[in-house]
């Protein structure tokens, strides 16, 4: 129960942070979410002229008061979807977010069902013939001596 409450509180705290980030994005966070179109890395890992140009544009849009979505939309309009480091949480982009999760859940279900079936069909341990009473008494004596 305690981990569930912890997760719930964390989720509730994350909402205002995400809203603040959407309304007042910083250049640093956007540099990690936008690709350099000529280097194959995010902007924060590139100092190429093309990356510098996009950083300047982002900085000017932030100064003009644009939201994160507005800035990203403008970049997508200029460079296409590939300019974003991660697909958007809408339309076809949703597939990229949810497909891996669905795959993990499906794999877990298959493994779980297999394990359940395996445990049900397992052969019971073979019970041997009853021990000779004299042998059993001797075994008990040996074990008792071993314990002492």
């Amino acid at each position: 129960m305690r981990p569930l409450i912890f997760l719930l509180v964390a989720a509730l705290l994350a909402v205002p942070v995400a809203r603040a980030s959407e309304r007042h994005p910083t250049l640093n966070e956007l540099e990690g979410e936008v690709m350099c179109p000529v280097c194959g890395t995010t902007l924060d890992q590139s100092s190429s002229p093309a990356a510098q140009q996009i950083k300047r544009v982002i900085a000017s849009r932030i100064a003009a008061g644009d939201t994160k979505s507005q800035i990203k939309n403008q970049l997508v309009a200029e460079y296409g979807d590939a300019i974003l480091a991660a697909p958007e949480h809408k339309g076809f982009g949703l597939l990229a977010w949810w497909l891996p999760i669905a795959g993990i859940i499906a794999a877990a279900v298959i493994v779980g069902a297999g394990a359940w079936r395996w445990s049900r069909h397992r052969e019971p341990l073979l019970a041997g013939p009853p021990l000779d009473p004299a042998l059993e008494a001797r075994l008990n004596d040996e074990l008792r001596r071993f314990d002492d």
């Binding site: 190429s48 002229p49 140009q53 544009v57 200029e78 460079y79 296409g80 300019i83």
Partner: protein, 179 residues
């Protein structure tokens, strides 16, 4: 699960893996996206890949295929962040004064911010029309980075050559103007 159902599932899984493997091999073996530049290096003269893109100046679009059979073309791939592009575009601008009535000069501003691209054209006095290829999709078909890349297309639509050394410009211009 019955034995036949299990066999069918296993067969399906194996067929899926084999199919994906075959697709990968076919894709690698028949990579048709080598680009015009590579084809020229291989001694071929491919037909210019068509594009239909918006002009940077906002005056409609340019459909490359519509020029086929009408005018030879000089195609200049550039961007405002590309320093060597300044020199090459200025050379094309100068050449346009001599060949502009016989040859179409078209710029393709690629992987660039259109606002910066327009400022760049004004700043460097580039007046031939350019289209905006923000995603670089057209550039990829012609050979990809690095830029500048300048191609010469004959009136027939076949790509005659790509500028490699400075002397290529007058040589190819004469060739396509006569085509």
């Amino acid at each position: 699960m019955t034995r036949s159902a299990r066999l069918a599932a296993q067969g399906l899984a194996v067929a899926l893996v084999v199919g994906l493997l075959a697709l990968l091999i076919w894709r690698v073996a028949n990579d048709s996206n080598k680009g015009v530049s590579q084809a020229l290096r291989d001694g071929q003269h491919p037909t210019a890949p068509a594009f239909d893109l918006s002009r940077l100046d906002g005056r409609g679009r340019i459909d490359l295929a519509s020029l086929r059979g009408k005018k030879p073309i000089v195609l200049d791939f550039w961007a405002s962040w590309c320093v060597p592009c300044i020199h090459e575009s200025k050379r094309l601008e100068a050449a346009r004064k001599q060949y502009g009535n016989r040859v179409a000069f078209i710029g393709v501003d690629t992987k660039d911010f259109s606002g910066d691209a327009r400022s760049w054209q004004r700043k460097h006095g580039i007046t031939y029309p350019s289209v905006h290829d923000g995603s670089g999709g057209v550039l990829t078909k012609w050979g990809g980075l690095p830029i500048p890349r300048i191609f010469f297309v004959a009136r027939s639509g076949k790509v005659v050559g790509e500028l490699v050394v400075e002397e290529d410009l007058p040589r190819y211009l004469r060739q396509i103007a006569a085509s």
